[in-house]
């Protein structure tokens, strides 16, 4: 009998189906991967199980019994535990204190720390999870913190452990170590579900794998019965879209946007690893990859929001490596951030004020030291017309506009003044079809005008649609650069996105 059985789970958010009639089974004592791209529905499914979301319909059977958890505490009571991507650890308490937090142990409220520590150490030794129980969380590495989270679950007698992207922040050595722990857990009769997008890891550690795509369960198979190419095919599963793009007219006078050996090190971790890339004027280079592989860092380094540790960046021959954000903007780089509410807009300000985020130092809009409101108003009005922004008025706070119209304002602002380069990070995220098409059209327009465009999107289809060349990023490294042509091998791209370098094709990096 299956340990866990989820039948016909449906869940939608704001009209979009995140899980569509998904069936998922787990056998006792197995390590099972939930594989898929961003937005495939993996975390949603597990959050439903764990009681964080409520499902629209479907059944969940745990050990043959129907269950419906309304909070993680319910799930833990049934010996199901989940480790999320953002750890729930109090940095200024010790490992031991975090593990026993909220439990009324013997001697409560005067816990016998020594005895508790002994028990914790026993548990941790059993599964090879070395940890110093008296260490403060703030002094631990990410890998060590993860171990604490796992011990927390084992301490509460979890039989099933759900791990969300567990190797996202681990070094290769830590990953190997982590796999050993999983093997020990399995040997001891525990079951593990790993949510991941990384195919090599699926191949090395799991017993079975279920691939989700666009909210559907595409396939469930024994890992030994399936290979990487097939997995990536299932994961991506798209038809090649070709779009008629005019060939680029090379502009000999301009160098374009150049990155040379750009690296970024933070907290001892290499976030970007010697990235080199040249985007010619009038070219769209699409960066394919699952979210969290260095895209945000790359974008911020190019914009000047973060400073790279090594390497150079040039725009049309000008070295912008050590310039600040304002200087970058003045030189003509437009930025469409992946988080428009945090990075791109001041939600409580109106349309004209948000346009000013770019133009408030522009001399054309300043008269005698004061902002020329009439000109700003006209400028915003033109933007609203040109980009068909639906708004009750120019005075409306951005908060009241729909996501698509908010994004249109950002486009209008960033694309104004014919920028030399545009960095577009998930530009169509959360937008409906109409708005998405509009944004894509705008990018193609700029391309025709000679702009260098770096497009980063977790939606491979979008990357394929728009890009002249495609580069795959994985763990902060460029895995391969390919021209976007009919000969493009999709499954190779999929493999690279999931961690396997391809020896076939591609330009040398």
């Amino acid at each position: 009998m299956a340990l866990l059985s989820m039948k016909n789970i449906n869940k939608s958010f704001f009209g979009k189906m995140a899980n569509n009639q998904v069936c998922f089974d787990l056998e006792p004592g197995e390590i099972h991967a939930l594989l898929g791209e961003n937005g495939a529905g993996k975390t949603t499914l597990m959050n439903i199980l764990y009681g964080i979301y409520s499902r629209d319909s479907g059944d969940i059977l745990w050990k043959g019994q129907e269950v419906s958890f309304t909070s993680p505490r319910d799930a833990i009571a049934f010996h199901i535990g989940m480790v999320h991507q953002h750890f729930m650890l109090v940095p200024t308490l010790t490992v031991s204190q975090n593990i026993t937090l909220g439990l009324k142990e013997k001697g409560y409220p005067f816990p016998d720390r020594k005895a508790l520590n002994a028990t914790i150490t026993e548990v941790s030794k059993k599964y090879g999870l070395q940890i110093d129980v008296d260490a403060y969380i703030s002094s631990l590495s990410v890998g060590e913190q993860q171990r604490v989270e796992i011990i927390k679950l084992l301490y509460r007698d979890a039989e099933l452990l759900i791990l969300d992207e567990p190797t996202a922040m681990l070094t290769p050595q830590e990953t190997e170590y982590f796999f050993e722990v999983l093997r020990k857990l399995r040997a001891d009769g525990h079951s593990v579900i790993i949510i991941t997008h990384r195919i090599p890891e699926v191949m090395s550690i799991t017993d079975r794998v279920t691939v989700l795509r666009d909210g559907y369960n595409v396939v469930t198979a024994k890992t030994s019965d399936i290979n990487e190419q097939e997995l990536s095919q299932y994961m991506i599963g798209r038809q090649l879209h070709s779009i008629q793009r005019e060939p680029i007219v090379p502009d000999a006078g301009r160098e374009g946007l150049v990155l040379k050996d750009v690296s970024l090190q933070e907290n001892g971790i290499e976030r970007l690893d010697s990235l080199s890339l040249q985007i010619a004027p009038g070219e769209i280079v699409g960066v394919a990859g699952v979210d969290g592989n260095g895209q945000k860092e790359l974008v911020e380094v190019i914009l000047g929001i973060r400073k790279q540790s090594r390497g150079k960046i040039r725009l049309d021959g000008v070295d912008i490596s050590s310039m600040n954000v304002l200087e970058h903007k003045k030189l003509g780089i437009g930025y469409i951030s992946d988080d428009r509410q945090q990075d791109g807009l001041v939600m409580d300000m109106n349309l004209t004020d948000n346009m000013l985020l770019k133009t408030h130092t522009d001399h054309r809009f300043i008269k005698h030291g004061l902002i020329n409101s009439r000109l700003v108003w006209e400028d915003t009005q033109k933007a609203v017309e040109d980009y068909a922004i639906k708004t009750p008025g120019l005075n409306t706070p951005l908060r009241n506009l729909s996501g698509g119209n908010q994004q249109k304002l950002i486009l209008a602002r960033e694309m104004a003044g014919d920028p030399k380069a545009i960095v577009a990070h998930q530009p169509t995220r959360g937008l409906d079809i109409g708005a998405t098409e509009f944004v894509q059209q705008q990018l193609l327009q700029r391309r025709a005008n000679g702009c260098c465009i770096l497009l980063i999107s977790a939606d491979l289809e979008e990357v394929l649609l728009l890009s002249d060349r495609i580069v795959v990023i994985y763990k902060g490294r460029f895995m391969g650069i390919f021209p976007n042509s009919k000969e493009l091998n999709l499954s190779h791209i999929g493999l690279m996105m999931a961690g396997r370098t391809s020896e076939v094709g591609g330009e040398s990096l």
């Binding site: 914009l303 000047g304 929001i305 600040n324 954000v325 304002l326 200087e327 970058h328 903007k329 930025y335 951030s337 945090q342 990075d343 791109g344 807009l345 001041v346 939600m347 409580d348 300000m349 004020d353 000013l356 985020l357 770019k358 408030h360 130092t361 300043i366 030291g369 004061l370 902002i371 409101s373």
Partner: protein, 340 residues
């Protein structure tokens, strides 16, 4: 539906406040009608009383403006009281040091001096916040007490009037005097300084690029960072202006009203300013209105005490209660305000 609910909730706060006032008046044993009558006549009863409202509103407008500018940029200025006193120290020092200057030079000079002293006193906590993330709530609060201490020391030592045994300075030179603008009242040109400041600040914060930056930083520092607006620079800028305005308030109180430096120049204007800014929604016009309102409250309560025996402390109670009700508004009137 939502707009009318909001209006009703504010009306509800007004009703509650009124009810509490009535309750307090009854507790004293006074006649409610007489109390309200004496309150109103205390404000509007004579030419002089109306002028008194404006005299008291002057420092509240300036300090309230300062707090409002700070709040707009995310700088919570609890230190307006201390900054006011630093302005007072500035004017006293400058006036005695350069005592031969004619008024036409002296007045602008001391106003500038007050702005600088008050601004510096505020920019130090601003720097600590911008550079090190140290909470300005605590630092500005402590700087208040340090400033008061400095005043206390000065009026007993270097600035002490030798001909008096009391801790205060000598009278300031005539040049450092703001003229009375309404004869036989105490209303001095400080009100004009305050109103001019209101216009200048309005222009600065809403019409200039610098003011735009300050407002944007207060609303979304992250977006500013991504757009090349320096959060650090703008925290410094706003804290400087915030303290500078409070400093000017100190200058006006000394040159317009007291004509000397002493410890009791401000009966807590710097703290009341926080309420003024809150009620005025951090907008210059709102600040003027709420400053006048609170000044009227205080003058009116003096009338209530004189003619109906209601202690003036009622005005503090009402001020506190109004703010508490505003903070709790969304919870108290939850049913009125939920949409759908």
């Amino acid at each position: 539906m939502k707009q009318s609910g909001k209006l009703l909730s504010f009306l509800g706060i007004a009703v509650l406040t009124l009810s509490i006032s009535i309750l307090l008046i009854l507790m004293v044993g006074s006649n409610v009608n007489q109390a309200f009558f004496s309150f109103l006549s205390g404000i509007f009863g004579s030419f002089y009383s109306v002028s008194e409202v404006m005299v008291k509103a002057t420092p509240l407008i300036l300090t309230g403006l300062g707090v409002a500018v700070g709040s707009r940029s995310g700088f919570i200025n609890i230190g307006a009281e201390g900054q006011l006193y630093m302005g007072a120290i500035a004017v006293t020092g400058i006036a005695f040091w350069l005592h031969d200057l004619p008024a036409i030079v002296m007045i602008p000079l001391v106003i500038l001096g007050g702005f600088v002293f008050g601004g510096v006193w505020s920019v130090i906590p601003g720097f600590l916040k911008a550079r090190f993330g140290i909470s300005e709530v605590i630092t500005t609060l402590m700087f208040n007490y340090i400033a008061l201490g400095i005043v206390g020391i000065l009026v007993r030592t270097w600035l002490k009037d030798p001909s008096s045994s009391l801790p205060m300075s000598a009278f300031l030179p005539d040049a450092a005097t703001l003229p009375i603008i309404l004869s036989s009242t105490r209303l001095h040109a400080g009100l004009l300084v305050a109103l001019i400041s209101v216009v200048i600040i309005w222009l600065l914060v809403w019409k200039t690029p610098a003011g735009y930056e300050m407002r944007a930083v207060g609303l979304n520092p992250r977006a500013c960072m991504c757009s090349g607006i320096s959060v650090y620079k703008n925290i410094l800028r706003s804290s400087l202006i915030s303290g500078g305005l409070a400093g000017i308030a100190g200058v006006c109180e000394v040159t317009g009203l007291h004509h000397k430096l002493l410890e009791g120049i401000s009966p807590g204007y710097g703290y009341i300013a926080i309420i003024v800014a809150l009620l005025g929604k951090n907008h210059p016009v709102g600040v003027v209105i709420s400053a006048l309102g609170i000044a009227a409250l205080q003058v009116g309560s003096l009338g209530m005490q004189r003619m109906a025996g209601v202690p003036t402390s009622i005005s503090s109670i009402i001020m506190g209660v109004v703010v508490l009700l505003i903070l709790a508004r969304k919870s108290i009137f939850r049913r009125l305000l939920t949409d759908e």
